[in-house]
């Protein structure tokens, strides 16, 4: 009856407090960073990640603050909650479209100012400001160079984002803008939704289920349903939730034995890929050993599965409850996520200064090990080749280790020189490397670069194509409003070439 439900409620409050204390500090700055992550910016101007992305206060409306103190009268609570939230909501769900410069939210107005100060008008009459990055880049059209480059000022009335320097240029370039106008409007509404201060039920992630509950990895909807998420009915909520979850779920979807990628042309997995993944799945789906909590139930435990996330930028600041979703896909497996990269502390300013370099921690890594017992997260602000040459992680074991690169820009002209010393080492470790990319062109460029640099010493594990668990939300690049991208659009995998010993056939030398 009434008392039973109250006890359940205070049990729920008590049970969720420990995780809240772990993740609350991660939530605040992490959510702000990933919401305002500008992927192409970091790819293009790799050293300017210092540019602070505007903070988003959506963490205010997370569950921890919204649970009201329980009362004996159940009828009182809903009205109390409604009052609190209506004072905090800035925008109603039907009022989410505002031009950026006149937005009710100060963060978005600041963002509009950033765009107006930094982005250049894409009209072909201007002179080019940078070399084009892809065949679809609008800089390709700027061949004539009639007028000097001008910053964007004029906002499109349909999408509310400044895209042109003047109305004349906007009108004459309208067809190319029409291609992305709908997407830009969607981005506009989604960004306003994040600052609207509403209650976000979609950001309550479920805990791990019992082991026999299988997860269905056909698409996002079946995955969320089989994992026990609360129903995400609205498309906008789906976009918001997949934007963060794409990082752990992409990794999980490739490594899990029920992954949608299988042998065959449609399944995209190559036989070499099956070899590498089978070795990993041997550890990721361990047989039952009869382990128990008493002395008789002691069993030797394998070392954790190490996932090296190289070139980590905003991924390292994702809320830890998002990363812990990866460990919920694999029961009885412990994970060690290692974020390595010069920008791995992006948007994590609260955690500075880094720990001192001591003999037991020679590279001053930040280690977070209170994440529920199944996962440990370490962050190294170093290049991978430094750690490799110091043999800090040696030996690499193909049964336990994998390398993940989230949109590394391997072939991107601005960042490929940083990957050149690292690539031969990655291939020498012989562990599978899972790579994602923003677009198909991005991925193909990365593959071409790897093939050229490796000189044939690499095997493709997973053919590149669209990632089933890509972010459904499109992100705007503040330095170029015409460049929209979505996180982890495509995924592919490679590994150092494996040579088989073969029978000596008696060749004459």
């Amino acid at each position: 009856m009434a008392s039973k439900s109250i006890c359940r409620r205070c049990l729920k409050l008590a049970a969720s407090t420990p995780t809240r204390s772990i993740t609350s500090r991660a939530q605040h700055r992490a959510f702000s960073s990933t919401v305002s992550k500008q992927p192409s910016q970091e790819r293009r101007i790799h050293h300017s990640s210092r540019q602070k992305a505007p903070e988003v206060e959506s963490q205010r409306s997370h569950v921890p603050q919204d649970i009201p103190p329980y009362t004996t009268n159940l009828g009182q609570q809903p009205s109390q909650k409604h009052e609190d939230s209506s004072e905090r909501t800035l925008l109603q769900p039907n009022n989410l479209f505002h031009p950026f410069t006149t937005s009710p939210s100060p963060q978005i107005r600041r963002r509009a100012a950033t765009i107006r100060q930094n982005a250049y008008c894409p009209h072909p009459d201007h002179q080019a400001t940078r070399s084009p990055i892809s065949p679809h880049d609008t800089e390709n059209r700027k061949t004539q160079g009639i007028s000097p480059p001008a910053h964007v000022r004029h906002e499109c009335p349909d999408c509310g984002i400044p895209v042109s320097c003047s109305e004349e240029h906007f009108a004459s370039d309208y067809e190319s803008h029409l291609e992305i106008c709908d997407t830009l409007r969607q981005i506009n509404e989604d960004d306003h939704d994040l600052v609207s201060g509403r209650f976000f039920p979609e950001f309550e992630y479920p805990p791990a289920r019992f082991e026999e509950a299988q997860v269905n990895m056909t698409n996002w909807d079946t995955l969320l349903f089989s994992r026990g998420f609360e129903a995400v009915n609205a498309e906008r909520s789906m976009r918001q939730v997949t934007r963060l979850l794409t990082y752990p779920i992409t990794v999980g979807s490739v490594l899990h034995e029920l992954s949608p990628y299988a042998l065959g042309k449609e399944g995209r997995l190559t036989p070499e890929g099956l070899r590498s993944l089978s070795a990993l799945r041997y550890t990721l789906h361990p047989p039952r050993t009869g382990a128990g909590v008493d002395i008789k139930g002691l069993r030797p435990n394998p070392p954790p599965v190490r996932l090296f996330i190289l070139g980590a930028r905003a991924e390292s600041s994702l809320p830890r409850e998002v990363w812990v979703q990866l460990s919920h896909l694999f029961p009885r497996v412990s994970f060690h996520l290692i974020f390595i990269g010069p920008e791995s502390m992006a948007n994590r300013d609260d955690e500075f200064p880094l720990p001192e370099r001591t003999p037991s921690n020679p590279f001053g890594a930040i280690v977070e090990d209170r994440l529920g017992g199944q996962m440990k997260v370490s962050t190294y602000v170093e290049y991978f080749h430094t750690l490799y040459e110091a043999q800090h992680f040696a030996p690499f074991d193909p049964y336990f280790d994998a390398i993940i690169l989230f949109h590394p820009g391997l072939g991107h002209p601005a960042s490929s020189h940083e990957w050149s010393p690292t690539l031969p080492q990655l291939l020498a470790t012989k562990i599978p490397i899972i790579c994602t990319g923003y677009t198909d062109y991005d991925m193909q460029r990365d593959i071409a670069w790897v093939k050229k640099e490796a000189k044939g010493e690499m095997d493709v594990l997973l053919e590149p194509a669209e990632n089933r668990f890509r972010s459904l939300r499109w992100d705007l690049n503040d330095l170029d409003p015409g460049d929209v991208s979505c996180g982890n659009w495509g995924v592919w995998g490679f590994r150092g070439k494996r040579y088989e010993t073969d029978e000596y056939r008696g060749r004459d030398e």
Partner: protein, 100 residues
């Protein structure tokens, strides 16, 4: 906002899945989750129903086919004058007598 809890007649909480709305109809998320399987399951269902219908059809035809047999050439004996009360006991006495 979360919908307020559903209460039963006794005031207890009725467990409510977020995948169904207030009138217990599947919500959009459930429909999307089922979508890859809708056509396949419908075809499977039609096949099963068709199979059952075919079996029923075969059985009814079989019974009808057998039922067409003509039994008019067999004479049905008349009903006995006295209905036997204890057929087992009288048969036993008679046989005991004949054995002796």
């Amino acid at each position: 906002m979360r919908p307020s809890q559903r209460l039963g007649i006794l005031g207890n909480r009725i467990p409510q899945s977020s995948y169904y709305d207030q009138h217990n109809r599947p919500a959009a998320a459930l429909y999307r989750a089922r979508q890859p399987y809708l056509v396949r399951n419908a075809v499977t269902g039609v096949c099963i129903v068709g199979f059952v219908a075919a079996v029923r059809g075969i059985d009814t035809w079989t019974i009808k086919a057998i039922g067409q047999d003509d039994f008019s050439d067999i004479a049905v004996p008349d009903a006995p004058a006295q209905p036997p009360h204890t057929p087992n006991a009288s048969a036993g006495v008679r046989s005991a007598g004949s054995a002796q």
